[in-house]
């Protein structure tokens, strides 16, 4: 990176390599722009995008008429179009919204009406018997529900990594460990001051997630939203628990939260969460044992057989929410677009958001005639995995069956992992039931030369 002298000039600089920033970087690259993606952390997906519930939403419960809804639906449509080309999983397992009380049951028709208004017309009411026929492991106290057939499971990391990878193989630049400190707009272009040197760029897109309002302040001295991080804690059950639920099991939402979801993951685990806890801290998402215990109890009320299943892991993430319930996507006169407060639907909406802002913007470049489509490593449990094929180097992480070849691949190329966290997100290494009991030593040996040691020393 040039620390001094004339900085390289870019058409578009995207600030923040979360799922939204990666999708935007991809979009502008495919549109023919010279794109720079800046990330404060050592790796992509290190903020809000590192933890979510890994669902591709239809938007059936999104606010009627909102930008969020249109972005979710466009995002869904585009994901369906491109997932096979990028080798991304898509498990169209469907969701069921379940009523456990008479009051909840009485609200089902309104929720279905909202779904139909949102053009999700294939929802269908289910009686208690119909619910139990589809989900025999559910507690028999369930009263009724409705099905949303197109709600789907995806890999929350391979999807954004594929957007980033496609941007990179088609010419975009990714600069990590780079925080934007300030910037000035001279009427034509931006000069950004960053922790790794100056950046010259015609336009700037702020996709800084949990720091969206701060980056707005640093660049244009104003922001029309305040990020209020909302924490979500999750409990992940072992792979043997995945057979207990076929659909994504949703509660009837309350005024304040969508409630606690129970669903499988594409990796074959069972997930329970999230909570919704407002906090000031934009960095740390602390777990607390009482809440985790509550999640386990809640999950066991829904699926009683979970009482005999083991917990594989727990995690917490932060949603970049703000005071209201709408995305804050703004085009500023200073050749800058802010994509703010993409609260909890970023994974579903990212491709739609990228489409939306590209339409807000003028894109004078000739689009790439024949872009490359990099194939992502397939980590979904129901697909052919690397451990089943020859030349894999042997399995390194036994719980998740991650091979040495997969780990080596994740540490090479333009989007190589440079931190253990980044390697985990690309390969799932150490993320299984033993949490590194068996493979930590062998992994450390393999990664010592490639990863930045995560030590304060």
């Amino acid at each position: 990176m040039p620390e001094s002298g004339q900085p390289i000039s870019f058409d578009v600089t995207v600030i923040g390599a979360g799922v939204v920033g990666c999708a935007i970087a991809r979009k502008y690259t495919l549109l023919g722009a010279r794109v720079l993606l800046l990330e404060k952390a050592p790796d992509a997906l290190d903020g809000a995008s590192k933890a979510n519930s890994a669902i591709l939403h239809t938007g059936f419960d999104a606010p009627v008429g909102s930008i969020e809804l249109s972005c979710i639906q466009e995002g869904y449509r585009q994901y369906e179009q491109i997932h096979a080309k990028l080798n991304l999983p898509l498990d169209r397992c469907g969701a069921m919204v379940l009523a456990w009380t008479a009051e909840q049951e009485s609200r089902l028709p309104d929720l279905m009406e909202q779904a139909r208004t949102n053009s999700v017309g294939d929802v269908a009411l289910l009686s208690r018997e119909q619910v139990l026929a589809r989900e025999p492991e559910l507690a028999s106290t369930v009263r009724a529900g409705f099905i949303v057939p197109r709600e789907a499971l995806i890999d929350p990391w391979s999807a954004p990594h594929s957007y980033l990878s496609q941007a990179l193989v088609n010419g975009a630049t990714f600069r990590r460990n780079t925080e934007v400190l300030s910037g000035s707009f001279d009427g034509n272009a931006w000069m950004l001051e960053t922790t790794t040197g100056p950046v010259h760029s015609t336009r700037v897109i702020n996709a800084a997630g949990l720091y969206g309002d701060i980056v707005d302040q640093r660049l244009i001295g104003r922001s029309d939203f305040d990020i209020r991080p909302r924490k979500g804690q999750f409990v992940v059950f072992d792979k043997t628990a995945a057979r207990l639920a076929r659909h994504i099991l949703l509660p009837v939402p309350t005024e304040t939260t969508k409630g606690i979801v129970v669903c499988r993951t594409v990796w074959g685990n069972l997930l329970v969460g999230p909570t919704a806890e407002e906090q000031q801290d934009r960095i740390n998402a602390n777990l607390d044992s009482e809440t985790l215990e509550m999640l386990r109890e809640k999950a066991t009320e829904i699926l009683p057989a979970l009482a005999n299943e083991d917990v594989t892991t727990t995690y917490a993430g932060l949603r970049p929410a703000c005071g209201d319930k709408e995305y804050h996507i703004r085009r500023h006169p200073e050749n800058m677009i802010t994509v703010g407060a993409i609260r909890s639907t970023g994974l579903s909406a990212a491709l739609g958001i990228a489409e939306y802002i590209a339409r807000l913007d003028e894109t004078p470049w000739p689009p790439l005639p024949e872009p490359e489509w990099p194939a992502m490593p397939m980590l979904a449990e129901d697909q052919t995995r690397d451990w089943q094929t020859a030349g894999n180097g042997g399995i390194l992480c036994h719980c998740e069956r991650v091979t040495r070849r997969e780990v080596e691949a994740a540490m090479s190329g333009p989007n190589a992992a440079q931190s253990l966290a980044g390697l985990k997100r690309r390969t799932r290494v150490t993320m299984g039931r033993c949490q590194g009991f068996y493979c930590s030593g062998a992994l450390q040996e393999m990664t010592a030369k490639c990863l930045k040691p995560e030590s304060t020393e």
């Binding site: 607390d288 917990v311 594989t312 451990w387 089943q388 042997g394 949490q435 009991f437 068996y438 450390q444």
Partner: protein, 400 residues
């Protein structure tokens, strides 16, 4: 390494003390034995453990874990057992049809008998629901030992050790080997899990044992910076740069749970009869897969004994497994027992006793059939009762 055969007499899964002991005995009996180890080097947990004492029962000599593992491997190999490393078993099919993954992709081996000896592992941090952040520097003893003894790393300088089992003492010794000084051993219960005498060594080395204390939260963004401890009403922070989460061993049963083999929810290992025979009679089990958790020499002996049973089975010398009867021990406070079944027998059993694990301290008279026995013990202690002749329901009468 020789390539895997399509068929063989006995396939052993796991190369810890139980698997290696069995391999030696089966090889000595002239059987075609293949032992599969998923790591790149055989030896199991002892291989990761640099410190003493290992080997007294097996070799009449005290040695470190690595030397011990090498001796066991040498002995198995000398008897003609084939050891295959970096081979992971991915499916246990009916009748001994085993699928493995390796650098060659997937392969299937049909064995006349399969011995499962996959051992046990510690419970990691996550299922214990410890709060706080998830920084680096939090690990089990198993991971710590492979970092320290195999990779010669020094992962931290002043960690805390959670647990007071024998393995927790081992964690303290491993830390000392890496020139790290554990600040404390932390135990939620009022008394240490291991015998109090075993906690003398850590205390003599300057690591206090904090009883009735819990880790409420771990702090630090990329690496551990401290922990919050609680004890009753008291709550305080301790600066540290590592957390070793020790013990709470559990059978490594992941493979088992995806098969048709019957699993005992209490031991979390397979249901076996007194020959170590599973619900599919082509499968046997020995060592710490059977229960949480025994010592290396115990597992070594169990491996030898079950190997002898396999030799009998292949010669048609074991009783019909379909005639086996259950052994029950449903008393509150009894955490687990094995064997879970008894086959009406003639030949010598591989598991010579009923093994029992307690969930709490107990003094009781145990009656079954015509027999009775007294026990007075604590959790995490070895409790052995005479093996009954057939199916029984163990009746406990507490004698406090």
């Amino acid at each position: 390494m020789t390539s895997l055969p399509d068929i063989c007499d006995v396939l052993i899964v796991g190369s810890g003390p139980a698997g290696l002991a069995a391999a030696a005995r089966l090889g000595e009996a002239g059987l075609d034995v293949h032992l599969l180890e998923r790591e790149t080097v055989a030896g199991g947990i002892p291989r990761h453990c640099g410190h003493s004492p290992y080997g007294w029962r097996e070799f009449r000599r005290v040695m470190g874990g690595q030397t011990y593992a090498k001796r066991l491997i040498a002995r198995a190999t000398s008897f003609g057992a084939h050891i295959h490393t970096a081979v992971s078993v991915t499916d246990l099919g009916r009748g001994g049809r085993v699928t493995v993954s390796s650098n060659c992709g997937l392969q299937t081996v049909q064995a006349r008998a399969v011995l499962l000896a996959t051992g046990a592992r510690e419970t990691p941090r996550a299922p214990r629901f410890i709060g706080g952040t998830k920084p680096g520097g939090v690990m089990n003893t198993g991971a710590l030992q492979s970092l320290v003894y195999l990779n010669k790393e020094r992962p931290f300088r002043k960690p805390v050790v959670l647990g007071s089992e024998l393995v927790s003492v081992s964690a303290v010794l491993t830390c000392r080997h890496a020139r790290a000084k554990p600040l404390a051993m932390i135990e939620a219960n009022e008394r240490p899990t291991t015998r109090r005498a075993a906690t003398w060594l850590p205390r003599a080395l300057g690591t206090p044992l904090l009883l009735s204390t819990q880790i409420e939260a771990i702090h630090g963004r990329t690496w551990v910076e401290g922990v919050t401890l609680t004890s009753g009403e008291r709550r305080w922070n301790v600066e540290c740069d590592g957390v070793v989460v020790t013990g709470a061993f559990r059978p490594e049963n992941a493979l088992l749970r995806t098969t048709e083999l019957e699993v005992d929810p209490r031991t979390q290992g397979p249901v076996v009869d007194q020959y170590g025979r599973c619900s599919d009679p082509a499968y046997f089990a020995a060592g710490n897969l059977l229960r949480p958790v025994e010592t290396a020499p115990w597992c070594w002996n169990e491996g030898r004994m079950v190997a002898s049973a396999i030799i009998s089975a292949l010669a048609g010398g074991l009783p019909d497994p379909s005639l086996s009867e259950p052994v029950l021990a449903g008393y509150p406070g009894v955490a687990w027992h094995l064997p879970q079944r008894i086959s009406p027998n003639s030949s010598a059993p591989a598991l010579e006793n009923v093994q029992i694990g307690l969930a709490r301290s107990m003094a009781a008279t145990v009656r079954y059939g015509q027999a009775s026995a007294n026990l007075r013990s604590k959790p995490a202690r070895r409790i052995l009762l005479p093996l009954p002749d057939g199916g029984v329901d163990l009746k406990f009468e507490e004698t406090l």
